[in-house]
């Protein structure tokens, strides 16, 4: 009996792992890079879906109930689905303000901050554009924030997290160098997009987005607005439409047929499109689809 207990104790020490819940796949992927074998990472939202509209299924409560750390995107992106889940998960460790709660938006410089905030302008985010994951440089900031948090929660493994972060940062800098080089050929491209989903990537690489297919954030396209877009694209010679995986694609194809523009399906998160399952593949796919 004694030896059994000892084995159990050793086993539990050997597999001691921090249970991490990340709201989106890209955050989960970064957490896995930093945490390595010391963490188990689960992602709440499927990247097939609109990140603003995730169904708060009860099965997610079982995940949250046992989490040691919850990593959220923040900036209002989870406002429509996460708060009721957090309230019913009965887990004090991951509530706002608790040690096991990490809002990444508090570490990132947000762009597109609106000057005035009203729902009359549609579903705008007062804090700025929350889709900062689209900037591959933000991966470094996120990794650092996650490493800090993990070191705080699991201080005995602090050195490992530090080492993992250093390794990952080095790798990522090399990766960014390559990516930047590939993107040089893409400067000054002109695009429109469905929702202001890709602004961080576009801004990083000097690509200009002229308009969105939705007339206002969160509002479905109207024929009047679509006609305006077609005229704008003809005038400005815009030949690319960035379409996400989850919105209807009819409007984009209609506009394309009237303007000879190309519709490119761009993943907004790790795993959103087939072949974008790792962080590198995710940004590579965006780069490749916009540039070629």
């Amino acid at each position: 009996m004694k030896s059994f207990l000892l084995i159990m104790l050793l086993a539990s020490l050997g597999f001691a792992s921090v249970k991490v819940e990340a709201t989106y796949a890209s955050l989960g992927a970064i957490a896995k890079k930093v945490g390595g074998d010391l963490v188990s990472v689960h992602v709440l939202a499927s990247s097939q879906y609109d990140p603003h509209f995730i169904v708060p299924k009860p099965s997610l409560l079982s995940k949250l109930r046992r989490a040691d750390l919850l990593i959220i995107n923040g900036g209002g992106l989870e406002l429509g689905w996460l708060p009721p889940l957090m309230r019913s998960a009965n887990n004090g460790k991951i509530q706002v303000g608790a040690e096991g709660f990490l809002d990444i938006s508090h570490f990132v410089a947000m762009i597109d901050k609106p000057n005035s905030v009203s729902r009359a302008f549609g579903d705008i985010h007062a804090e700025g554009n929350p889709h900062y994951i689209l900037d591959p440089y933000n991966v470094l900031i996120i990794a650092k924030a996650v490493a800090q948090k993990l070191s705080q929660l699991d201080s005995q493994n602090m050195q490992t997290y530090k080492k993992n972060l250093a390794n990952f940062t080095r790798e990522w800098h090399i990766y960014l160098k390559d990516l930047d080089k590939n993107m040089l050929t893409c400067k000054d491209k002109k695009v429109i997009q469905y929702h202001e989903l890709f602004n961080y990537f576009l801004k990083r690489y000097g690509i200009k987005s002229y308009a969105t297919i939705e007339p206002l954030p969160g509002i479905s396209p109207s024929s009047k607005h679509t006609l305006k877009l077609i005229n704008l694209m003809r005038e400005q010679k815009i030949d690319m439409i960035l379409q996400d995986v989850y919105h209807e694609k009819k409007t984009a194809h209609f506009i394309a047929s009237k303007t000879d523009a190309k519709v490119k399906i761009i993943p907004h998160d790790v795993g959103a499109a087939k072949g974008s399952e790792t962080l590198e593949d995710f940004y590579n796919m965006i780069a490749q689809r916009i540039c070629h």
Binding site: S46, Q48, Y49, D50, F53, V55, P56, K57, P58, S59, L61, S62, R65, R66, L79, G80, W81, L82, P83, P84, L85, R87, S88, A89, N90, N91, G92, Q95, V96, G97, A98, R119, G122, D123, G218, I219, S220, Y246, H247, E248
Partner: protein, 399 residues
């Protein structure tokens, strides 16, 4: 700013001869000193507290206004409609009809909903329900944020988590009409009382939640003996994701209380919700509940049951359509021998248009065979066009 300045100076320096280089270097150093001084000032300015003294604006709770109004057409006069009864459940004149009562226009309610964290330990929610001539505290409760052992405690006046639709606010229902069995057993507010609730979430991969509640039991349709807190409720809920897109939620509930005759009433409930997610904005949801009541009246015991089932197809962000079926399936009680009390049923259908998340227009039709008016069965055709808005900081709804 600093970078570009130094860079341009550096670049231009290449164009100058060595003699001019030292002069440029000196100017560069002067610039650096100036920039540093400016940066220091800017930093000091931004870290100074600029808020008004004693201002607490940052602590304001989330507040929202919820408005519900309707236009109603019905083939029964208002004066007759308000006297309706449901055989075995609601006597003539006892029907409470807070919503969509009048033919023509109705302002059903203006609701003021407030949510805020109190401190690291508690969160508070209140919902002030305002009818045209009435103020009501719909709900007002505190709940815990950080109890250990996956426990959750709620205290105050709240809607019980008995069954499926009971805890939901009218504005989040899929149909404006309350399910007949809920109206028959509990009335328009369903089980809503002062009390305490304790819930526990099991540490399993599958969602399993158990809860118990102690309530005052002021609901006179089924309970109503409020000499002391006489209503006890328990439930067990579980949910399984059969695929990533298809999920099942089921629950079993029991409410045990004392009715106005000081005898016991037991209500048993079973509910299922099946949801197939089709894409981000489209889904097919089937929700059904069965309620069974044993109401001991001393000499006799009423044994009654009923159900509703609704199927809602969310087409896209803007449109939904749905059908609902209601029925009283068991009615062993003192029924009037002169009136045929079989086949108490209602059929409903709705079409919904949401221009945006926070506004909703809904057109509904129902054919109701559950009512008795002026001592005889009367089938009612009803069309309701309702408008619901939620303005301000209104939180997301739970599953």
């Amino acid at each position: 700013m600093k970078k570009t300045l130094s860079l341009s100076l550096l670049l231009s320096s290449l164009l100058y001869s060595d003699s001019e280089l030292s002069e440029i270097k000196e100017r560069l150093q002067q610039q650096d000193i100036k920039i540093q001084a400016l940066e220091k000032v800017a930093q000091e300015r931004s870290s100074v507290n600029q808020s008004a003294s004693f201002s607490q604006n940052a602590y304001l709770p989330d507040m929202a206004l919820i408005l519900n109004m309707s236009a109603v057409s019905r083939d029964v006069k208002n004066s007759e409609y308000e006297t309706y009864s449901i055989p075995g459940f609601i006597q003539t004149g006892d029907a409470a009809i807070p919503f969509n009562k009048e033919r023509g226009f109705n302002l059903n309610y203006a609701e003021f909903a407030i949510r805020s964290s109190v401190d690291p330990y508690f969160e508070v929610f209140a919902n002030f329900h305002l009818h045209p001539n009435e103020f009501e505290i719909g709900e007002a409760f505190v709940q815990t944020r950080a109890l250990p052992y996956a426990l959750f405690l709620k205290a105050g006046k709240f809607k019980s988590s008995f069954g499926r639709i009971n805890s939901k606010h009218q504005h989040s229902w899929n149909f404006d009409m309350q399910p007949v069995i809920y109206e028959a057993l509990f009335g328009p507010d369903a089980i809503s009382d002062p009390g305490v609730q304790l819930q526990y979430l099991f540490p399993t991969d599958t969602y399993i939640m158990a809860g118990v509640e102690a309530m005052q039991g002021s609901n006179e349709r089924s309970f109503g003996d409020t000499e002391e807190n006489n209503l006890y409720i328990g439930y067990l809920k579980s949910s399984v994701d059969i695929t990533d897109e298809f999920s099942f939620l089921g629950g079993l509930s029991i409410a045990h209380g004392k009715n106005t005759t000081a005898n016991t009433t037991d209500v048993y409930g079973a509910d299922i919700t099946l949801r197939q997610q089709l894409d981000s904005y489209s889904s097919l949801v089937l929700q059904a509940e069965y309620l069974d009541r044993n109401k001991d009246l001393g000499d006799t015991t009423d044994k009654q049951a009923g159900l509703y089932a609704e199927l809602v197809y969310k087409v896209n962000k803007n449109y939904s359509a749905g059908v609902r079926y209601d029925a009283i399936t068991k009615n062993e009680t003192n029924l009037s021998p002169d009136i045929d009390c079989d086949n108490l049923q209602r059929y409903g259908a709705m079409l919904e248009y949401k221009p945006f998340e926070f506004s909703r227009l809904r057109l509904q039709y129902s054919y109701d065979q559950t009512k008795i008016i002026n001592g005889e069965r009367r089938d009612i055709n009803e069309v309701i066009l309702s408008l619901n808005i939620a303005a301000g900081a209104h939180g997301a709804h739970s599953y």
